[in-house]
């Protein structure tokens, strides 16, 4: 657990720093939420609400990465989920029928889960490199989404309860946040209360050894990609509900990069093995906050990328023991704390 805490320390520090910056320019109501007409709002709550889809995707991505894999198709799957639901709803005469909403959501989730499973199968059973296997759907996926919407942007009536998925609230807490957090808890329990987490890390750490130990490596791999697809689909639904429309082309564009970024900021290595769901969550909030910070401190939109680069760089360096040691060398002269072990001595 302490190692866990150590992992999370640096991302948390960066997050705090970002928040402080914002508070110092926009005052405390950046962070303190206030309730107006029965729903929490305020800058930070908005950030969390907007980050919900990214969080969902990043969580799925964390599991995939734990198996030494990667999923580039999440952005496209996001679009597909959104497209299916919205199209089905606007095609119906009464856009508010509960039955319709549920079947639309169900259909979207089933399809995206199937897509995820397909990715998993390509990786586990056909032995195709994850990046290629998922690249295929990254390319074709948006095509499929556009096919569903016929290239248009289906707009769901604001009156349709479907939009509640993105705009509604539960006990004043915006639904997207609730859903994302529930997913976080669910996955945490699923992986840590059962042995799934350990088996994942084992498969990611040494596939052959895992096979010889009798682990159902392939089954697990497929399962993980399936979950990732499902998360992406759910994210798409929330995004679409929030806007009341599905943009097949731009919905979740490049979100795969942000998701992977969040995962790594959260301390999970792309080489597979140990994974940290909570860290991922923090990574997501950092990214979300960052985008607001840029606007709040009044940088022009040209600055967005540059600022993002700087923050990512800082987090990456802070997380590196070697860097910290190098920076702190002048300060600690006492031969106390044993230096951390390095497998591949980097000197």
């Amino acid at each position: 657990m302490s190692s866990y805490a150590k992992r999370l320390m640096w991302p948390v520090l960066v997050l705090v720093a970002l928040i402080v910056i914002n508070v110092s320019v926009t005052g405390f109501d950046f962070i303190v939420p206030h309730v107006n007409d029965g729903r929490l709002s305020g800058a930070f709550v908005n950030i969390l609400r907007r980050s919900a889809p990214l969080l969902l995707i990043a969580l799925g991505m964390t599991l995939v990465i734990a198996t030494k894999g990667i999923d580039l198709s999440v952005g496209a799957v996001y679009a597909i989920g959104a497209a299916i639901a919205c199209q089905m709803i606007i095609d119906a005469p009464d856009q508010s029928a509960a039955g319709l909403i549920f079947s639309a959501i169900a259909l979207a989730l089933v399809v995206t889960a199937v897509i995820g499973a397909w990715n998993g199968t390509m990786v586990a059973y056909f032995g195709i490199q994850p990046i290629v296997a998922t690249l295929i759907l990254m390319i074709a996926g948006r095509g499929i989404a556009q096919l569903v919407t016929g290239g248009q942007i289906p707009k769901v009536e604001d009156s349709s309860p479907f939009t509640q998925l993105g705009r509604g609230e539960l006990f004043t807490v915006p639904l997207p946040i609730v859903i994302a957090v529930l997913m976080l808890v669910a996955l945490a329990l699923l992986t840590r209360r059962t042995a799934l987490g350990m088996l994942l890390e084992s498969v990611g750490g040494n596939p052959e050894a895992s096979r010889l130990a009798g682990i159902r490596a392939k089954g697990i791999t497929v399962l993980v990609y399936l979950v990732c697809g499902l998360c992406a689909g759910l994210a798409g639904l929330i995004g679409a509900a929030n806007l009341g429309s599905a943009d097949a082309n731009n919905g979740g564009l490049w979100i795969e990069l942000d998701a992977i970024l969040a995962v790594v900021i959260g301390g999970t290595a792309l080489l597979g093995g140990r994974f940290y769901l909570l860290g991922t969550a923090i990574g997501v909030v950092i990214i979300g906050t960052l985008e607001d910070t840029i606007i709040n401190v009044g940088l022009s939109s040209q600055w967005q990328f540059t600022a993002k680069a700087i923050v990512v760089f800082v987090v990456a360096l802070l997380q590196s023991p070697e860097f910290r040691g190098w920076i702190l060398k002048p300060f600690k002269r006492r031969p106390a704390a044993p230096a951390p072990a390095k497998e591949v001595a980097a000197k």
Binding site: G127, I128, Q129, L261, K308, V344
Partner: protein, 342 residues
Amino acid sequence: MSTQTLTERPARSTLFDGVTRYIPIGATVALLLVLYLGGIASFPKFDSPQVVAKLFIDNAPLLIIAVGMTFVILSGGIDLSVGSVMAFSTMCCAWLTVDAGLSAPLVVGLVLAFGTLWGLGIGAVIHYFNVQPFIATLVGLFLFRGLTLQISDTDVSMRDIQFFHWGMEHLVEVGKIRTGGFWLPNLSFVAFAVVIVAFVVLHYTRFGRGVYAVGGSEQSALLMGLPVARTKIGVYAVSGFCAALAGVMAAMGTKSANPLANVGAELDAIAAVVIGGTLLTGGAGFVLGTVAGVMVWGLLNTLIAFQGDLSSWWARIAMGVLLLAFILLQRVLARSGEKRRT
């Protein structure tokens, strides 16, 4: 001491073994041919030599960054910054010559130097600070896209700088396209040169073999006393240089700089490399495979252009399906030579 000598034949018969290493690339090339012949069968004018020539005109920059990417991936790393570095280089070419009025050759020199230095820098960060390549280079992806947009958020023309006209001058011109001729500009040959140099370096120099060794097992390479640091930093320098060079080639290709150019080029490059049979985990692959990968990439696009009646979405789906078919076939062919034990 014992007189008997121990023989152990390798797990797979020697002859076959020599071949297996070439199976992925062999499969790629074979399928590439199939793709091409298929095109000829189904479209008029597809047999025009220009169809092939074009692959090396439009994809020259992609080919160059893909070659750089091959070095990085072989060493077990990855470089996401190439797309942005490329765009940034192009923009610098325009900015420094058109606005700042420096002499073009000087600017090109500066840009190439910059690319290499960036590679060295980020390589050092990756190696000495153990930062994951994905993240370190992702920084480059954001940073240089940002800087490019800050230099100019509109496209800039370099048409008046004579120097940049060199790239598109037809070095080879055989007949007219109408009459089944074809042509190739200088920059295609720059790309070829890059490929050849890369091939020689990877296969016939210590640095090149070191790249494979580090990709095979960094820990072992280190314990074998190989210069791991130099190798790891070197590959990123190579990739950075290639990205900058590709940027210059792009500048010559269009004589204009566009701040939003090459978004996602890094993925195209990675795809090309991996389609070419290089393992993302490092240690196995060929730069010639990368060439094949790039050609596949270009050929698929050409096929779709010739088909021409596909809506945006069907075009994308078709691309995906073709790619899928390709990967699966390649896999099936390669499976036969799979290693039994690791």
